[in-house]
């Protein structure tokens, strides 16, 4: 415990930050006041454009060159840093404020050994350490929970898993024994179970050393779980703040209420899931003991011909999808859910097993044989920012499947396009827009409209909302639910996010390491999970416990 006075580590008063980009001005932070006391854990929750990242950058002096602090003061560790120079900030970085960056996969220098990167932080903060530097680095690696620290320290980042890289970044952040750690979006890049373990560990480290932590997140659940105090930001301002319990139970502001309502984790209590009736309807798609084995790429050589290592992506996976209902395939990375998707779409052939669509065996069909089925089976892809050709207007993107399958007159295409944009609740004006003029949610609607163009009966959804803000996620999920009801389509939803799944799934299949671990009606799986892994996944959903 830092025995100093009760002076706050961070004291922001009336801070406003403005960005100058070309001729445009963006006020990212507007009159924000914030204090963080020693040993306190504070979370800032906001969607994209809320200004939370700008705020975090301001605390460590990493605002970009075109940012201007217009009003207010920034006090860090008791010192006024509002207009501090780079040199002044450098004395604080690492020693008073440490940063755990957002994406562990790109936040480490790929050509420098991990131990050396940690050692750099140690030396920077504590001065040249001479021979004891190695010992310092190893001690830090142990503290953040990395096994075999001597081996790991000599490895390069690409040789470590995502979770281990995140731990290394934490080691770098605490190397200088700072008084405050800023954790930027700690739940974005990794699997939920891994994240949970790492966040738990971080909690222990922070509480053990008596230092403060500031968590920047878009996930209200994470904020509620981990913080002593939660601040909600919208469009640059702090809309509401308070202890998580009172924020969640009795939100004062409409925006906060909207966020809570939209967050899948808080939306429906467990008991209410499964209110979707699982009526016995016809089976539209069935996987029968499907297995898929990949040969891993060997070394690029002209003469090497040894046996290649094999990877079992799917192992005897079976499930079925019923007409008008949604089956969710849930799993973390490496579970085989993407492979299942690709096999079902005919993009890959299974090593064994069968796929039955509407009673017909479609296993291993050639591309041309599969093609007629494309009118009936479609896909919504994960990344709305890459799934539309940037040179095509919305109209051209939507009608492309129609043009692939038949000759229609311009009038017919236009009429159908208008009908489709109405269905996905986009304004007709959008038809002439290019993708770069649309938001992520709007682009995803265009992708849905395109998928509906041919009138399919079965729609595959690959993480359809993971790249979107929470409030937009809710809108898209609603749209999908309504479309299912109105058009009688069946869905296969692939997702790692159980909270999203709870919103629209009738049946759930849980995959792990290519095997089906659990399988049943949504209400059953959520209310009474049979497998330990399913329970682990459920517990990893942030905010569920509240």
């Amino acid at each position: 415990m830092t025995g100093t006075s009760q002076e706050p580590i961070i004291d922001l008063t009336d801070l406003s930050v403005r960005y100058h980009s070309g001729n445009q001005i963006v006020d990212a932070v507007k009159q924000v006041s914030l204090t963080i006391a020693p040993g306190e854990v504070v979370a800032i929750v906001g969607e994209s454009g809320s200004g939370k990242s700008t705020l975090a950058n301001a605390l460590i002096g990493l605002l970009s060159d075109n940012a201007e602090v217009r009003t207010g003061t920034i006090q860090v560790g008791g010192e006024d840093m509002t207009h501090a120079s780079e040199g002044q900030w450098r004395t604080l970085r690492g020693r008073v404020v440490g940063l755990v960056p957002q994406d562990p996969m790109v936040s480490l220098n790929p050509t420098m050994r991990v131990g050396r990167q940690i050692g750099e932080a140690v030396e920077r903060a504590r001065g040249p350490r001479g021979r004891s530097l190695d010992a310092d680095v190893l001690e830090l690696l142990e503290q953040v929970g990395i096994d075999q620290p001597v081996l790991r320290a000599r490895q390069y980042p690409h040789e470590l898993s995502g979770g281990m890289r995140q731990r290394v970044l934490i080691a770098i952040a605490i190397a200088g024994q700072p008084e405050l750690i800023v954790a930027d979006e700690p739940t974005s890049a990794l699997d939920a179970t891994v994240q949970r373990r790492i966040l738990d560990h971080l909690d222990v480290l922070v509480k053990g050393r008596g230092i403060s932590m500031l968590i920047i997140t878009h996930d209200l659940g994470v904020a509620a779980d981990r913080a002593d105090r939660v601040l909600v930001m919208q469009a640059g301002r702090i809309v509401e703040q308070g202890p998580p319990a009172s924020i969640l139970r009795a939100p004062a502001e409409p925006y906060t209420r909207a966020l809570i309502a939209a967050a899948p984790a808080f939306r429906a209590p467990l008991s209410q899931i499964g209110a979707k009736p699982v009526t016995a309807t016809l089976e539209i798609l069935r996987f029968e003991a499907v297995s898929k084995v990949f040969a891993l790429p060997g070394e690029a050589s002209w003469f090497g011909r040894g046996p290649k290592p094999l990877f079992q992506a799917l192992d005897q996976v079976s499930f079925s999808v019923h007409t008008g209902q949604t089956l969710a395939i849930v799993g973390e990375s490496g579970s085989g859910k993407t492979t299942s998707l690709r096999i079902a779409l005919g993009l890959d052939k299974p090593t064994s097993g069968r796929i039955i669509f509407e009673g017909r065996d479609i296993t291993g069909l050639g591309w041309n044989e599969f093609r007629p089925l494309r009118r009936r089976i479609q896909l919504i892809q994960q990344n709305p920012f890459a799934s539309l050709d940037p040179r095509y207007t919305v109209f051209e993107s939507i009608v492309e499947p129609l043009q692939s399958f038949g000759k229609y007159t311009a009038a017919e295409l236009q009429a159908r396009a208008r009908q489709l944009v109405d269905q996905v609740r986009l304004p007709r004006l959008a038809l002439n827009r290019l993708p770069r003029e649309l938001s992520g949610g709007q682009r995803q609607r265009v992708a849905i409209a395109r998928a509906l163009a041919l009138g399919p009966e079965l729609l595959f959804l690959d993480e359809p909302v993971s790249a979107l803000d929470v409030s937009i996620q809710a809108q898209i999920l609603d749209l999908l639910g309504d479309l299912q009801r109105d058009l009688g389509m069946s869905y296969v939803l692939v997702s790692h996010d159980l909270a999203v799944v709870s919103a629209i799934a009738h049946q759930i299949v849980v995959l792990r390491g290519g095997r089906v671990v659990e399988h049943g009606a949504a209400g059953q799986v959520f209310g009474n999970p049979q497998a330990a892994y399913t329970r682990e996944l459920l517990e990893a959903i942030p905010g569920r416990v509240a």
């Binding site: 409409p254 309502a261 896909l379 492309e400 399958f405 007709r428 004006l429 395109r450 609603d478 309504d482």
Partner: protein, 305 residues
């Protein structure tokens, strides 16, 4: 159509029941929009316009030199020999009294011809090879890349020298030689772009929408992959001019009294001490032309992002 009910489930969604925009929103083509946007972006770059103006001047000099000068590039005027640049003779005169500016203007013809031809050969040949390589992959890719490796081992100037040794100078053979020297760059660029676009999500989406590979190639891959190749073409136009002038400097260009740029510089070399404008001004002209092309190329690249 049922009215969507948002109130209890997603309070952040806007209401969509009332259609304020009319049903008849005219649907416009994307192509016109893209062109007009690109043009307006380019207009905002003064450097680009300047460079473009210079290149147009050079092209005009190649096509219709008489429009730009009234002197005769071949007539010798011994009384006027070795005069420094003045208002009458902008670039001065050479050892036979010929106006240097006129000689430079007339010299544009052959250099530009050879360069245009070379870039066309490289562009068409290289893009095709790169397209096949990137699109089909596998064995075809391996074979084409080996071919490209062989071509890389024979740079433009050396290849041109080899051809000149065998069959003497000619605009066509030299252009072919230079073209083959530039071809690998186009092949590699096109290949990289095709491979990049081919794996993008919207190509997969089009495939799943039933589009055949032919349709995808023409409508998605080529339009999105060709930007980089066009940028390279403007850049290599300059490179081709440099190689062509290098060739004529070494004495392997068109026979005298032809006024190719390289030949002018080579002839002026003897007078470097006494009349430095003779070799230096034509060289500066070449440098400016290539620099202008370089700038155009870079601006196009920035705009296409």
């Amino acid at each position: 159509m049922t009215t969507p009910d948002f109130t209890h489930f997603s309070p952040l969604a806007p209401a969509y029941d009332d259609r304020t925009d009319s049903d008849d929103v005219p649907i416009r083509s994307a192509r016109l929009r893209r062109w007009s946007e690109t043009l307006s972006l380019l207009r905002g770059h003064p450097g680009f316009l300047l460079a473009l103006a210079f290149i147009l001047f050079v092209l005009l000099a190649a096509a219709m030199p008489t429009l730009l000068t009234r002197f005769d590039p071949y007539a010798t005027v011994p009384l006027e020999k070795l005069r420094a640049p003045s208002l009458l003779h902008w670039f001065g005169t050479d050892e036979l009294g010929r106006d240097l500016y006129t000689r430079v203007v007339y010299g544009a013809g052959l250099s530009v011809q050879a360069a245009l031809l070379a870039v066309s050969i490289a562009f068409i040949g290289g893009s095709t090879l790169g397209l096949f390589s990137g699109f089909f992959g596998g064995r075809i890719d391996a074979v084409i890349m080996r071919l490209i490796d062989v071509m890389l081992a024979l740079p433009s100037l050396l290849l041109a020298l080899v051809i000149v040794t065998a069959i003497g100078f000619g605009t066509l053979p030299v252009a072919i030689a230079v073209g083959f020297g530039l071809l690998p760059g186009f092949a590699r660029t096109m290949r990289a772009e095709v491979m990049r676009v081919k794996t993008l999500a919207y190509v997969e989406a089009a495939r799943l929408g039933g589009a055949g590979w032919g349709r995808i190639l023409v409508n998605h891959i080529l339009p999105n992959a060709s930007g980089a190749v066009v940028v390279l073409a403007t850049l290599d136009f300059g490179v081709a001019i440099l190689v062509a002038s290098g060739l004529s400097f070494l004495g392997f260009g068109a026979a005298p009294p032809a006024a190719e740029w390289g030949t002018l510089i080579a002839n002026g070399r003897k007078f470097l001490i006494t009349a430095p404008w003779l070799p230096l001004l034509p060289g500066m002209f070449v440098a400016l032309a290539v620099f202008a092309l370089n700038h155009i190329s870079r601006t196009l690249e920035e705009v296409s992002k």
